[in-house]
Symmetry: C2
DNA sequence: TTCCCCCGTCGAAGCGCTTCGACGTCCCGC
DNA sequence: GCGGGACGTCGAAGCGCTTCGACGGGGGAA
C-alpha cells in the first residue's frame, strides 16, 4: 500500500504538505501542488479511509435508512436510494445502507461508532419512535417525510397535503361533484405513515371546501381488491365521477376494474393519481398525476445534510410544491355521466 | 466520546485486555470479561470504527453494487439489497451502497481506500468490463450472476439455464408442442446480460430436445408491447399453447392481452414464468412460476464473502437449482386447443 | 521436585492520516 | 529602513484501536 509518506518522499515535501495540497486547508504554491499531484498519480496513492476518519473525525459516509414495510412502493424507495447515492458522491461522500429492521439500535450504532457523519431517514411515521433518538444524536440528520412534531429536526418531502388538495381541485374545476380517494393499504394508515395521512387530509379539506361529496378508502394492492373497491364505490356512490388514487400498484388494476364495470376513463370517470411519472405514463391508460419527485427529494436531502455538516444554516422544513402532469385521464363532467 | 482507555480504567485493566475481551482473540478470564462488559455497558462504550479499521485493516464494511439499467426489475434488486444488508449484519458487517454508474473507478476507489473489505457485484454482463478489475483487486468479491468466463471469480446465481429448461419441460410434459419465450427488452440481450441469455439457451435447448416448435421474443415492458407481442404470436404460431415469460412487469399485461384475444389461461394457453413468488402469486391469474430467490442469493453471497475474508475455502461457482411452484396457470393440452 | 508450557494480562508500538504551532521568507506600508 | 503580516512549508503530536512480545503464576508431566 502506498501511503502519504511515500508521496511526500517522492515529491520532496513533508507529509503535511501533501495533506494540505489534497485538502486545500492551507495555501500551497502552485509549483508544489503540481509536483504533489504528479507524485500521487505516479504512485497511485489513495488515502486510507479509516486513517482519515480517525484523524479528522469525519468518515465521509452518510447513513441511509430504507423502509421495508408492507404497502410502500419499492421502486420509489429505490429511486430515493439511488439519488441519494448519486448526490452524496457529488459531495465526496459514500452511503451506508441500513434497513429499518435494525431500528433505533442501528442508528445509534453507526452514529456512535463514527461510522457515518450524518443520517437520512426515510418513511417517517407521524409519531416515529426514532425521533427522540435523532434529536439526541450528536450527528445531523435529515428526514424524508414529516412527523407530527418535526421541531428540531430537518425534514423534506413533497407537500402531500397540497398534492391531495390539488387532485381534488382539478376534479372540482372540471365540474365533478362526487369524488373518492383510493389510498394505500389500511396498515399504512394504522401505523401512522405521515405522507399517506397528509394526502387524506388534503383530499378531505379540498373536497369540503368545494362542497363535494367525498369518501376515502384504504385499499390493498391486489387486482381482487381493486375489483372489490370499484364495485363498492359504484354501489355506494352511484354519482361518482372523480377518483384520486394514491396507491401505485393498484392504479392499473383499479382502472381495469372500472372499465370492466362499464365506466370509460375519462369519459365516465376522471382519474388522477399521486405516483411516479414513469408509472403514470406507462399505463395502458396514461393517468394525469402528481409526480413523486424522488430524485429531487433525495438530492436535496443530501444537500441539506451537507449544509448541516458544514455548519451552514439551512431550513428545518422543506415542502416541495406538487405539480400535476396532464395525461388525458380527466375530463369535464358530462351531464350524461 | 468514551474510549477504550476509559473502559480499561473503569474496569481496572489495561486497554489491550478490553480489546481482547471484545474480540476474543486471546483468552480472558470469566471474571475479567464480566467486569469489562459491565464497564462497557455502564459507560456506553462504542469502539470507533475508523480507529478499528486503521489498526486492524478491516473496515467491516462490504460494498454492494446495484444496477440501474433499464429492463431490470427494481423490486428484485431491492430484495437483493435488503437481504445482503440483513445477512451482513449477522456477520457484524455493514453495507456501502454503490451504483453501477460509478463504474470501475468506484470499485477501485472503495477498495483502494480500504473503505470496504470486500465487494458484491450485481447484474453481471457476459463480458463485463469490471471483471479484470475484480480479479486484480486485493479484496475478495462475489458476483451475483455468471459472466462468460467466471474463472478466478466467485459467482452465485439461480441456474437460469436450468430454469428455462424446466419451464419447457413442464409444458412438454403436459403435451404442448408449440411454445414461445417472451423475454426481457431487447437492450437487455444486446448488452449481454448473462441471466437473460441463459434463460434463452435453456429454453431453446429443452425445446429442441423435446422436439417442440419454439420461438423467442424479447419484449418491452408495456401494455402496448404486450398486446403487440400477443397478436404477433397468435399470427405467427397459431398452434401456440405454451408460453414462458421472463419479464416481470410484462407478465400481467401479457396475460390480459391473451385473454382479450380470446385465449383462456390455462384452458387454451398454459403460462409459466420466471419471476419473484410475490409477483406470480398476486396476479389476477396466479401463474405457475420459478422463483427468483433473491433473499437466498443475497444471503449466500454474503456467506461466501465471509468465507473468503476468513480464508475458508469456498466454491467458485454456486448455481441454485430452480424450483417450480404450481399455481394453476398450466394445463394439459387439449385436442380442441 | 523440576521443567515447561499454557493461561491471563500488560505495555508499547504502530496503523496512516490530519492538524497545530512554529519558522523562514517575502513584501507592503509607514 | 524596519516591523508585521501573509504565505508556504515542516515537524511532531495525536486520533482510538489492535496486536505483538513479554512476563508472572500455576499445573501437569517426567
Amino acid at each position: 500500500m502506498v501511503k502519504i509518506t511515500d508521496v511526500a518522499r517522492h515529491a520532496g515535501v513533508s507529509p503535511s504538505t501533501v495533506s494540505y495540497a489534497l485538502s486545500g486547508k492551507r495555501p500551497i504554491s502552485e509549483e508544489t501542488r503540481r509536483r504533489v499531484e504528479e507524485s500521487i498519480r505516479r504512485l497511485g496513492y489513495r488515502p486510507h479511509a479509516g486513517a482519515r476518519a480517525l484523524a479528522s473525525s469525519r468518515s465521509n459516509v452518510l447513513a441511509l435508512v430504507v423502509p421495508l414495510r408492507a404497502g410502500i412502493h419499492v421502486p420509489v424507495v429505490m429511486q430515493f436510494a439511488v439519488s441519494v447515492v448519486t448526490a452524496a458522491r457529488l459531495h465526496d461522500h459514500d452511503v451506508l445502507l441500513l434497513t429499518q429492521e435494525e431500528g433505533e439500535e442501528g442508528l445509534r450504532r453507526v452514529a456512535d461508532t463514527a461510522l457515518v457523519d450524518a443520517l437520512i431517514v426515510m418513511d417517517v411515521q407521524l409519531h416515529d419512535p426514532r425521533l427522540p433518538l435523532l434529536r439526541a444524536l450528536d450527528r445531523p440528520s435529515v428526514l424524508i417525510g414529516f412527523p407530527a412534531a418535526p421541531d428540531g429536526l430537518t425534514c423534506i418531502d413533497l407537500d402531500f397535503e397540497a398534492a391531495g388538495e390539488l387532485c381534488v381541485e382539478r376534479l372540482a374545476g372540471l365540474g365533478h361533484r362526487v369524488v373518492a380517494l383510493v389510498g394505500s393499504p389500511p396498515e399504512v394508515y394504522v401505523r401512522g405513515t405521515a405522507f399517506a395521512q397528509r394526502v387524506v387530509r388534503g383530499f378531505t379539506a379540498a373536497a369540503d371546501r368545494n362542497g363535494l361529496a367525498s369518501s376515502v378508502h384504504p385499499c390493498e394492492a391486489s387486482p381482487a381488491a381493486a375489483r372489490r373497491i370499484a364495485e363498492r364505490l359504484l354501489r355506494e356512490q352511484p354519482a361518482l365521477t372523480g377518483v384520486v388514487v394514491h396507491n401505485e400498484p393498484l392504479l392499473e388494476p383499479l382502472i381495469d376494474a372500472f372499465e370492466q364495470l362499464g365506466l370509460r376513463v375519462p369519459a365516465d370517470l376522471s382519474v388522477t393519481a399521486i405516483c411516479p411519472d414513469e408509472l403514470a405514463g406507462n399505463l395502458r391508460v396514461p393517468v394525469t398525476s402528481i409526480a413523486i419527485p424522488s430524485a429531487e427529494v433525495g438530492g436535496r436531502a443530501v444537500d441539506l445534510l451537507m449544509r448541516k455538516l458544514n455548519g451552514t444554516p439551512c431550513p428545518e422544513a422543506t415542502l416541495l410544491t406538487p405539480a400535476m402532469t396532464e395525461r388525458g385521464s380527466t375530463a369535464p363532467r358530462t351531464l350524461t355521466s
